[in-house]
Structures are given as structure tokens and as C-alpha cells.
């Protein structure tokens, strides 16, 4: 029941590389040729030049340039922010593991069929609604200041711990929905076929449905990872010195904003490779499946 050889014509059409480049508005290069490229190039250059001109001629530009784009300011604040950024990456990596597990459980609970499982389904639905409904910053503040206020022995006081719990709870809600979309996209005939071969319901889920479901949702999943990576900055509201909080410290010390740019550069340095990695995964998956379907 390996899924490699399954024919899914609808999905393949969707994922097939478009003939022309999307960036060039679907122009088919060999037909319209150099003319299209030239127009695209000229329009880009004119556009960028005019935007740059508009910004640099704005009345406030000299001041903005001075407070935001001072190279000494940016590079001077960089080492401290980079050190603080290590914490963002750690929080991100640890939370991600828990989120992947927790959200999968929730998604499976939400997808359970039959009236017997109604309470579990309802519970999972309520959880997802709450997790996605309350602003992340509020969840973090509630847990980070509220849980330690109980003064229970054995309950950690660490703001990093509670902020991590908050991020896990919130993001599990989102990621569970991504998983669920994946599970529901697998045609019911897949499970029926698996059951007819003698697999139990759990085996069918584990061996047939989930492998296909997870592979389909890897791009949106990584999309949420990127969101999580950025939201680690919310931990700063609990007093923890992470990258954004450090950049705010620098800004309030100098009244300049170069440190914001330094922090932004660090976040982008993580999220862009993650985005390219997603693209690569999708491409690899497509190649694998196309190779597989040749034998079907």
C-alpha cells in the first residue's frame, strides 16, 4: 500500500511546474522571446529607480537615514543582538518538536469518525478554536505572569518556560488544522482499500493516510514554522532578553533604530533559508512521485 505509485491526477496537475515563469507573468520565453524580458527588465529598473527617488526626496529622509541607516549603529548593536538571538533559535527548535507531536494528536482526534468519539472531537475543536482565537501575546502574558503567581511548589517560574508553553499551545492549534486539511485530502478509498487488506483502523491511519497527508502539507507546515520563528520575539514581553528586546534596549539607549534593522536581518537570515528549503522539499517530492508513477 505504498503511496508512491498512487495516481492522483488532480494533485499532479496542480503541482506541475508552469511552462512559463510565474515571475514574468506567465510569458512563454521561446514565443515572445527577448521582447518580454526587455520590457520586464525596463519596467523593473524604472520602478525601482522611481521608488528610490521618491523615498530619498521625502522631507524626512535625511532624518530617517540618520536614525535608521547608520552603519556604525547597526554593526555596533549586532553582536549583542546576535547573542540574544541564540535564545530565539533555541525556543523555536524546542517548541517545534512539541508542536509537531501535540498538533498531530489533536488533528487525529478531530478526524475520528463515528458518534462514539464525539466528546474527543468536540474537545479538539474547542481547543483549536481557543488556541487560534486568543492573541499569542496575551496567551504568553497570561501564562508567564499568571502561572508563577500561583506560587505552587514544583511549578517553574522561568518566563522562558512559560512563553515556550504559550507558543506550543497556540501554534499547535494552527498546525493541527494544517494536519487535518492533509488528512481530509486523502481520498476515503485509500483507507477503505487499506482496511480491505486487513489493516486495522490505526494501522491504516499510521501506514496509509498519515504518510500521504503529512507529505502534502509540508509547505504550509513550514509556513507555520516561519511564523513561529518570528513569534519567539513575543517572549520579550516577559522580560526575557531575546533579539527584539535587546534591540529595544539598544534603541532606548541611543534613540536610534539601527538595532531594529540588525534584529530584522537576523530573523530574515533564518527564515529565508527555511523558505528555500521548503521549495526544495516540494521539488524533491514531485520528482520522487513522478519517478514512482512511471511504474504504476
Amino acid at each position: 500500500m505504498a503511496s508512491e505509485g498512487d495516481r492522483r491526477p488532480d494533485l499532479e496537475v496542480e503541482l506541475r511546474e508552469p511552462r512559463g515563469s510565474r515571475l514574468l507573468g506567465g510569458v512563454r520565453l521561446q514565443d515572445e522571446g527577448a521582447k518580454g524580458v526587455a520590457i520586464a527588465l525596463a519596467s523593473t529598473i524604472v520602478f525601482i529607480a522611481l521608488v528610490v527617488l521618491a523615498i530619498t526626496h521625502a522631507a524626512g529622509w535625511p532624518e530617517v537615514k540618520r536614525v535608521f541607516f547608520d552603519w556604525g549603529d547597526i554593526s555596533g548593536s549586532f553582536p549583542d543582538i546576535a547573542r540574544a538571538f541564540v535564545l530565539n533559535v533555541k525556543i523555536f527548535l524546542v517548541c517545534e518538536v512539541f508542536i509537531l507531536v501535540l498538533s498531530l494528536i489533536i488533528a487525529v482526534l478531530r478526524s475520528l469518525p463515528g458518534p462514539v468519539f464525539f466528546p474527543l472531537r468536540a474537545l479538539a475543536t474547542i481547543y483549536v478554536d481557543l488556541a487560534r482565537g486568543v492573541p499569542t501575546i496575551l496567551v504568553i502574558a497570561l501564562l508567564g505572569f499568571g502561572a508563577p503567581a500561583l506560587q505552587l511548589t514544583g511549578v517553574p517560574r522561568s518566563p522562558v518556560f512559560w512563553a515556550g508553553v504559550g507558543l506550543i499551545l497556540v501554534y499547535s492549534g494552527y498546525v493541527a488544522e494544517v494536519y487535518r486539511a492533509g488528512i481530509e485530502s486523502v481520498h476515503p478509498s485509500q483507507e477503505a482499500a487499506a482496511r480491505s487488506l486487513g489493516l486495522t483502523r490505526f494501522q491504516a491511519l499510521r501506514r496509509v493516510v498519515l504518510p500521504q497527508a503529512v507529505r502534502r502539507v509540508i509547505p504550509p507546515l513550514l509556513n507555520d514554522f516561519i511564523g513561529l520563528q518570528k513569534d519567539t520575539a513575543l517572549v520579550g514581553t516577559l522580560g526575557v532578553i531575546e533579539a527584539f528586546n535587546q534591540s529595544q534596549i539598544d534603541t532606548s539607549a541611543t534613540f536610534t533604530y539601527g538595532s531594529y534593522l540588525a534584529a530584522a536581518a537576523l530573523f530574515v537570515a533564518i527564515t529565508i533559508p527555511l523558505a528555500r528549503f521548503t521549495d526544495w522539499l516540494i521539488a524533491r517530492d514531485r520528482r520522487k512521485r513522478q519517478a514512482g508513477s512511471a511504474f504504476a
Partner: protein, 290 residues
């Protein structure tokens, strides 16, 4: 051909935008050197617009809160900073009714662009680095940093600066207290920095931080109102050259000289001292930490 037309239209639109932005250039706000009321370089003519954060905390601001102000009311003239602002306004020739207050969060007080206030008075410490971006008035209050702790916790027995090293300390973002922790106390634990006063206070209540470093008058407010069962452990002698609060102005605003002139008079005739005794008298009696 339509593509070309579109391109031209785009170019024209953007060129118009660029030109539009270019012509809104304002003349530099130098103003005249006279301190006569009519010659002052003001945001709103005939009115003195003063900024501070909301909530404005005692003992810097007092009076019963009245919308939109919370915790206190800067318009009351009560509290040290409110009283100083009105005293300066009077010296500049403004009646009480001619002073308007504006809610200016700390981060907005130094944001680039034209300011919505004539000066901002919000416990902002002068530093040479900050003074490159905004103009500061002379001192209206000389600051000592201090530590607030929970009674009965291990840190409550500390009597020296060196004794504070092993503890987790917190400060509020935007204050110079964080810099003080890093440069003078040099603790072995990473300090915490809270974007809001409320967060810092809650963390001290929860014992998520052992001590909070704040300016001395604020420390007495924290112990009296915000954190029950806490005490001012002590204060630190000012650094050489001292630390002081100054009012914040748009960089280069000629109004600074006039306010400095007013402050000098208020200092020499004893008004500042009187106002400190009236509003900050409670902020005494803490031991010094060496």
C-alpha cells in the same frame, strides 16, 4: 502597446509622488532667540503642549485620574513633574489653561519626524548618546538608582553592591536602570528587561526577579502601592557627573534655551527644591549601597 502605456502611466504616477514628497520639505525649526511668549517656537501657537506617558505614575504625577488619563492626572498640577511643567510654563508666560497635555509613549518621544509636543517630561535620563538625536533641557531632577526587593527573601539582607551580584535583577525598558545593572552591579545572572511597568511589578510580586532597579522616587511608589510586602533595599551613589532627568525637545528647537532659562531661575530661587520636598519627600530614608 498597452504594456508600454501602462509603464508610462506607472512612471508618471511615481514621478508625481516623488515630486510631491520633495515639495513638502519644511524649513528648519530654528525660531528666534527671544523668549517672549509670542516668539517661542511652539507646536500650537499660544499654547504650551507638554507630553508624558499614560498612565503617568506617582510621585511624578498626582491627582485623581480623569479621562483620558489613568492612575493620575497631569493636568492637576500635582506630582513633581506636573508641578515643574506648570512652574516652567508660568515662567514662560503661560497661564494654567494655556498648557495642554499630550499622551506620548516613551518610544514616541524620540521617534524621528516632527514632534507632537513642545517638550516631553517623563523621567527621561540625559545621556550624551541620546542627546545626539533629541535636545534635552538641563536637569530638573538629579537621579539615584535604587533596588526594590521582597521582604524576607535572601536578597533583602544584602548591604553592598557586590552582594547583589548573584541575584536576578529586573529593570524597565527605556530606563537607564538596565545600563546601571550591566555596568555597575555586573550580576552573574542575565537581568530581565520589561517593556511595561506592569510587567516589571508583576515579576517582582511573582519572585520571577529578586530585585527591581528603578529610580529612587519610583522605588518608594512601588513599595507603597504596587508590591505589598516589598522594601527599598537601598540606593546607589550617583556616577561621577551624575545622572539627571531632562525634558525632551525636537532636536535644535530654540525653546530649549528658554526652558533652561526658566529652570535656572526656579533652581536659584529654591522653587525646584520646594517642589521636591513637597512631592518627593517620601523618597528619602533608604540606606546607601556601596
Amino acid at each position: 502597446m498597452t504594456k508600454m502605456l501602462g509603464l508610462v502611466a506607472l512612471a508618471l504616477a511615481l514621478a508625481g509622488l516623488a515630486a510631491g514628497c520633495g515639495t513638502t520639505k519644511k524649513t528648519a525649526s530654528t525660531g528666534s532667540s527671544s523668549c517672549a511668549k509670542g516668539d517661542l517656537n511652539l507646536v500650537t501657537a499660544g499654547k504650551l503642549t507638554v507630553g508624558t506617558d499614560n498612565p503617568a505614575f506617582p510621585p511624578w504625577y498626582g491627582g485623581t485620574p480623569h479621562k483620558p488619563w489613568q492612575v493620575s492626572d497631569p493636568r492637576s498640577g500635582q506630582g513633581y513633574e506636573s508641578a515643574v511643567a506648570y512652574a516652567v510654563a508660568k515662567k514662560l508666560g503661560f497661564s494654567k489653561a494655556e498648557v495642554t497635555w499630550k499622551h506620548v509613549p516613551f518610544n514616541n518621544s524620540f521617534a524621528p519626524g516632527s514632534k507632537s509636543f513642545d517638550f516631553d517630561i517623563n523621567q527621561i535620563s540625559y545621556t550624551p548618546e541620546r542627546a545626539k538625536q533629541v535636545s534635552f533641557s538641563d536637569s530638573y531632577y538629579d537621579v539615584n538608582q535604587s533596588v526594590v526587593v521582597n521582604k524576607g527573601t535572601p536578597i533583602a539582607n544584602v548591604t553592598t553592591i557586590a552582594g547583589l551580584k548573584p541575584y536576578g535583577l529586573g529593570a524597565q525598558l527605556g530606563t537607564t536602570s538596565y545600563q546601571f545593572i550591566k555596568d555597575t552591579i555586573k550580576p552573574s545572572k542575565q537581568p530581565s528587561v520589561f517593556p511595561q511597568n506592569a510587567g516589571a511589578v508583576q515579576a517582582l510580586k511573582n519572585k520571577q526577579v529578586d530585585g527591581l532597579v528603578v529610580d529612587l522616587p519610583t522605588a518608594f511608589y512601588v513599595t507603597a502601592v504596587q508590591v505589598p510586602n516589598s522594601k527599598v533595599l537601598g540606593y546607589f551613589a550617583a556616577k561621577p557627573g551624575g545622572e539627571h532627568f531632562g525634558m525632551v525637545f525636537q532636536k535644535g528647537n530654540s525653546l530649549v534655551q528658554c526652558v533652561n532659562h526658566a529652570l535656572a531661575t526656579l533652581r536659584s530661587n529654591g522653587t525646584l527644591k520646594q517642589l521636591q520636598q513637597k512631592w518627593l519627600a517620601k523618597a528619602t530614608g533608604a540606606p546607601i549601597l556601596k
